[in-house]
């Protein structure tokens, strides 16, 4: 048990999947950065909804529909509160990727003249700049590339230091008069370092640009107060924070959401529809076209309540302990190089390279010992290229990861080069 009274072994017991053996070994699941496992409480909440209350929300007058609507809106309230936001500023999405695309397309639609008069403020002119960073997940690169290609905007990228921290002086130079959007991750899914959000937001706001935060890898691991961080928009994914697949959130400052034209269009986001034109509801419903992932929203609310019961400060402290243990363990192994080894504020996620052994082979040897890690470029090819690699091995922890899990993992990595007969 950690000093904060955090008992990962007890949390572990809540996750039915973790009790299995893999290849004859107890499962050590270190792939939470890709997708987390789900506690019984989340599975129960969704099942309970589906077997007792399931009905189309916001639509029927019948009893089930009314109950389902209440649970759905309670879920919005719960999840919004988890990130410090009001429920009217939380839009349901199907995940972070959709959330970032929503923002990019809404800006594109504003550029195409769609939306209310206020939308014009979001329109891009040719030569306007969109700034992201070298460390981004493809989900926070490609939507901007496509938006730039459609509008004539130009992409700029904040470089990253060897130690994995962002080059802030360079950011200060890059972010200028023409900058309209600054999009960056709270925590990179390869480096695990908590980026200086306030500094980047200040740079963005100083030039009147929107600050867009990818909070995918921070939401499950550090206490979040999005309004306090000052970002204009932020996204996260349910399946990475102990919740179901197919649900996520987009937080937006009221004025910003208000100015955004719709992205997906369809049922439940309109006031009046004629054959040739339509009027749209205010946010958040303006952005929630069609049948929403209702049972998943209820499941995500349960996930968030689970995390809150553990306490996010305790979760973060637990993870800091794990990440130190991981990094110290790995650093001691000859031939292992960590990607971004800065002693910054971090989550328990590390990516590394084993000299002379391909990431795929490392992963295979670990898997044979029941240890699940991720290998590849983790949807961050430019970042890997920056570090001279095409692939790396990534271990990422969660609330159910114990120090023992970390030790088993480190020991297994220590045996990899010998297995492949690589001489030191």
């Amino acid at each position: 048990m950690s000093p904060l009274g955090f008992d990962a072994a007890r949390a572990r017991a809540d996750f039915p999947l973790l009790s299995q053996r893999v290849n004859g070994h107890p499962l050590v699941y270190l792939d939470s950065g890709a997708t987390s496992q789900k506690p019984q409480q989340v599975l129960d909440a969704e099942l309970d909804f589906l077997t007792r209350t399931n009905a189309a929300v916001h639509r029927g007058a019948h009893t089930l529909a009314a109950e389902a609507t209440e649970l759905f809106e309670d879920a919005r309230h719960t999840v919004a509160a988890f990130v410090g936001a009001d429920e009217e500023t939380l839009v349901w999405t199907h995940g972070a990727t959709e959330g970032l695309n929503l923002v990019a397309y809404a800006i594109g639609n504003a550029t195409a003249g769609r939306g209310a008069p206020a939308s014009a403020a979001l329109a891009l002119r040719s030569g306007d700049e969109i700034v992201t960073t070298e460390t981004e997940h493809h989900a926070n690169l490609l939507p901007w590339q496509e938006l730039a290609a459609r509008t004539g905007a130009v992409l700029r990228h904040v470089p990253v230091h060897d130690d994995g921290t962002l080059d802030l002086p360079a950011a200060a130079t890059l972010i200028g008069e023409r900058t309209r959007v600054v999009a960056f991750s709270h925590v990179s899914n390869v480096l695990g370092i908590v980026n200086p959000v306030s500094e980047l937001v200040a740079l963005a706001h100083a030039v009147g640009a929107l600050a867009v935060l990818d909070a995918c890898q921070s939401a499950p691991h550090v206490p979040l107060d999005l309004p306090a961080l000052g970002v204009d928009l932020a996204v996260f994914s349910g399946h990475k924070m102990l919740g179901p697949y197919g649900i996520g959130g987009l937080y937006g400052r009221r004025e910003v959401l208000e100015a955004m034209p719709p992205f997906l269009t369809g049922g439940s986001m309109i006031t009046t529809v004629e054959l040739d034109r339509a009027e749209y509801l205010p946010p958040p419903m303006r952005f929630e076209a069609g049948t929403q992932p209702v049972s998943q929203a209820v499941g995500l609310a349960a996930a968030v309540r689970y995390l809150e019961a553990l306490g996010m400060p305790a979760v973060h402290a637990h993870e800091r302990e794990l990440e130190r243990r991981m990094r110290e363990g790995l650093r001691a192994i000859e031939g292992v190089r960590l990607l971004g080894d800065a002693d910054a504020d971090r989550v328990a996620l590390v990516a590394f390279d084993v000299d002379g052994v391909h990431a795929h082979d490392v992963g295979q040897v670990l898997d044979a010992q029941g240890i699940a890690v991720r290998v590849g470029h983790h949807c961050a090819q430019p970042l890997h290229r920056r570090f001279g690699l095409t692939a790396s091995v990534r271990a990422s922890a969660s609330v159910f990861t114990t120090p023992d899990d970390v030790d088993v993992f480190v020991e297994a990595v220590a045996g990899v080069r010998a297995f492949f007969g690589v001489r030191s």
Binding site: A61, A65, E70
Partner: protein
């Protein structure tokens, strides 16, 4: 059908047919008008009040909707005629609070008159919007005036 009778009280069914104030008056003098719509069922209302200084006069409305929304508009008409703006705003606030209370706050007959018969609505969360439609229109009209 006892819970149903609690919702559809005799007075509601009567008002939904009688519809006091139905038929929008012409825009003359100091007027405030609001158009409101329930996007779920497509119900709409246009409500207009004449303002005599701070005093509300001649509430009229037009629109289509379910019996709850029609009765509620009709009841509001009688309740609000001759009341001053700030009182009206306060009454709307208490009405909303009661309707959203899921049956824990009662509408007082002394304050709400016939509209107190809408008490039963607060247990039917899907119908709260129907009952609120005219009241939201009045609130909006006053805010614009």
């Amino acid at each position: 059908m006892s819970s149903l009778d609690g919702l559809y009280q005799e007075l509601i069914l009567d008002h939904s047919k009688a519809r006091d104030g139905f038929g929008l008056a012409a825009e003359e003098g100091a007027c405030a008008t609001s158009h409101q719509r329930n996007p779920i069922c497509g119900d709409e209302i246009t409500l207009r009040v004449r303002l005599d200084g701070e005093t509300i006069r001649d509430v009229t409305w037009e629109g289509a909707g379910c019996s709850i929304s029609q009765a509620s508009a009709s009841m509001l008409t009688g309740l609000i005629d001759g009341v001053d703006r700030s009182t009206a705003t306060a009454v709307i606030g208490r009405f909303r609070e009661a309707l959203r209370s899921r049956g824990t706050i009662e509408l007082d007959e002394d304050e709400f008159g016939d509209a107190a018969a809408l008490n039963g609505v607060s247990k039917f969360t899907a119908r709260v919007k129907c009952a609120m439609l005219a009241w939201v229109a009045l609130e909006d009209a006053l805010a614009r005036a």
